[in-house]
Symmetry: C2
């Protein structure tokens, strides 16, 4: 675990598994880091968590999928930026954020029920209600899709929130936090949408 | 370069340096992948690009900063999600996104003018106008801050945009794109803000 003990700003560290899982479950994008022949690689991936595993899907030809499936060790990073912390000194500007880093080794998921549970978990995170609304994968779809999972063996989280910690303000300049909000927007006709989307999105005509 | 040739969905690949730089310059967060003793690590970092280099700053104690400063090879991933592509089949749901992966080796930045240019570049990307408004770093600040840079030696980009490619629609279900918009929001009194922030943010009282 030593590698996963946060050394910089340790007061921002979190080692609570429930908090990790809650954070993973409201994110869909991660970056996966892996090494081959000592060289670092990084690939953005969509993911879903079930139990103590992080699941990925893709093609059987995909290099990362094959790497994970064959037991490869990966480290996964997920970060949300929630705000810009404006200080009076340029050097004290900061971001409010949440981040998690997870490490573990992979394996193939062959069982079709488990593959289906992965699709269910991922799509429920994608948009609530879409699993109930849409055409689900059949046996042929599940066979064609490569699914792998990584056991969550080590992890750490960090977060920063709140105002600037600036002790010395400069020249009465303004300081404070600008929040970042993520909105789901649809530009078309509201009435044509199914109900699960109406409650999910914010309408904004251009 | 072979490692950086996109094999999956090659039609989504971009190898244009101007497009890469434009993309880097409107992002502030990346994930840095590196290997030590064959093990993969990932760390979220804020960055700025000047010329053909990606700059990072931090503490002289930071493991990643020291790794990059001493010539370490890193691969950097940056991804934006721009939309949710809703298909009629669960298996055809997708994301609209832009992503870049950059690889190169690092070095220390010791020159104080170059460190200052880094702070200028980063803060102009953080919030336009903040560099002109705020107290800039002095020589002592620059000395205390560790700055490193990575030469952009190899890169690849991918993007997906537009509607679902679904050929076979299921049961007349709805399909289309839900956009994701990022808004800067301030919850306080507008009048107390300096001008550079008034034009930057969207006001939204809770």
């Amino acid at each position: 675990m030593e590698d996963f003990i946060v050394k910089r700003y340790p007061e921002r560290a979190i080692y609570d598994k429930d908090k990790l899982y809650e954070f993973l479950d409201r994110n869909i994008l991660c970056h996966v880091s892996f090494c081959e022949n000592g060289n670092p690689f990084i690939i953005p991936m969509i993911f879903s968590r079930i139990g103590d595993f992080i699941y990925f899907h893709g093609s059987y030809e995909s290099r990362l999928i094959r790497f994970i499936g064959s037991g490869g060790n990966v480290t996964i990073g997920i970060t949300n930026i929630n705000g810009l912390v404006v200080a009076t000194h340029i050097k004290n500007n900061s971001l409010n954020y949440e981040s998690a880093v997870v490490n573990g080794s992979g394996e193939w998921v062959e069982d079709e029920d488990e593959k289906l549970r992965f699709f269910e978990s991922l799509s429920k995170k994608f948009i609530p209600g879409i699993w109930e609304y849409s055409k689900r994968p059949d046996n042929e779809d599940l066979e064609k899709t490569a699914v792998v999972r990584v056991k969550i063996e080590k992890f750490s989280m960090k977060m920063r929130e709140g105002d600037t910690n600036e002790k010395e303000k400069y020249d009465n300049l303004w300081s404070g936090v600008i929040e970042i909000k993520y909105n789901y927007v649809y530009n078309g006709e509201i009435n044509e949408l199914p109900d699960f989307l109406k409650s999910f999105i914010k309408f904004e005509k251009n």
